[in-house]
Symmetry: C2
Subunit: 240 residues, 2 copies
């Protein structure tokens, strides 16, 4: 690591090198461990050197998002709006899955960069060229929300949750937990039980994230399609 840092030291720092190093570091150690100081160390540079290429940490995070937005492929041309949107969302999802830190960062971003605006503009463009009214496109963009980036706000968070502990927890304790669950949260228990059964395994959460994502995505897209065909307008309920 010090050798690599030493070698990297020779070629001069620039914004791109800072940003891609930050992306790699966040991929490796997680966003909570990404600090200016640690990033500088990884680049074989004094912390203050970073501030020549990035105003502060906020701007660093914004630049990191820009970097991975660049990884999302361009929209497929000449496709009907529905499949165009679907493909673009799913390709964004692939990128976001490669960079798990991006979800919380995008969610908390406050200054939208041109690259992000460009992605959103292209997104709106797919609906507009698909014949959607500007009005409907507006609301549809809001309804997409974070799903535009290929992620859902998971409230269960199966990844870090009970699933991982299962391996270590002894069987009898697990049974006790299950009974507690059944007593206190009967509805969730039912759902979990059926999901686990469908999954064919006893351990694990029984949720196929990709399936859940596409379920919700298609539900929305079908809804959009229906409104579009009905020439829906926002009517008088809105504004003053």
């Amino acid at each position: 690591m010090t050798l690599l840092a030493e070698a990297a030291r020779r070629i001069p720092l620039n914004r791109d090198r800072v940003l891609s190093a930050a992306v790699v570091l966040a991929d490796e150690v997680g966003i909570e461990s990404l600090s200016m100081r640690r990033l500088a160390q990884e680049l074989g540079v004094v912390p203050m050197a970073l501030y020549k290429h990035v105003a502060n940490k906020e701007e660093l995070l914004g630049g990191m998002v820009d970097t991975i937005v660049g990884e999302i492929g361009p929209p497929v041309p000449d496709a009907p709006w529905k499949s165009a949107v679907r493909l673009r969302v799913l390709s964004a999802r692939q990128v976001l899955l490669r960079h798990p830190w991006a979800r919380p960062v995008i969610e908390t971003r406050t200054n939208v960069t041109p690259a992000v605006l460009g992605y959103m503009d292209g997104f709106a463009g797919m609906f507009l060229t698909g014949g959607f009214s500007v009005d409907l496109t507006h609301h549809v963009m809001h309804a997409m929300g974070s799903r535009m980036w290929g992620f859902t706000q998971e409230v269960f968070d199966d990844s870090a949750g009970a699933g991982n502990q299962h391996a270590q927890v002894p069987a009898d304790a697990r049974a006790a937990m299950a009974q507690q669950m059944a007593e206190n949260f009967p509805h969730l228990f039912k759902i979990a039980a059926v999901a686990a059964h469908e999954d064919g395994s006893v351990v694990g959460n029984g949720c196929d994230d990709q399936y859940e994502f596409e379920f919700a995505l298609d539900l929305l897209l079908d809804g959009f399609e229906r409104l579009h065909q009905q020439n829906w307008t926002s009517g008088g309920g809105k504004g003053k």
Copy 2:
């Protein structure tokens, strides 16, 4: 403030007092300024005293979420599932609007507490008692995502965005910005223009957050209803 802290000093600290003080503090100064040290100071107590009632900051945040989950009213009894869900979401939304810090905290929470599980269980219960299959309820819960808590993941983030700056930016600079926007992000520009027109004002972002939220919510609920009436099942695409 010191007087108040002095007075509060007498009555002994307990978990509830710590948690509600944290909620009030986060409401006032924002979540990014909520530190263990500052919270202790506000309570007229040495920082280490907090650790008697809360294991660490993570647990503090979890407890804060529990506190405001308690502010969400109980589900209305004997209502059809659709309006029951709708009302509960909108009442959760009112609570979350009072505590803006809660959104990012809920989003990044990793250990789900019993109170949160209880809320989710009640939520699932509305669909199940409404006649939904366990299978459909499962996927519907995922599709709800953070909308269960009454918030959407906004990607625009109008609140802190360009809207607030408008007041200070001179008219000619604003016109230049608008032209830049029209050139670089034509689709977004169209949407913003129509929204501003509907809003009846030139400044402002022209987005009625409540309208946007309900638009997406109703789109989902209508989709759920349709699937339910069709006796939808997840079929063979899922699991192995």
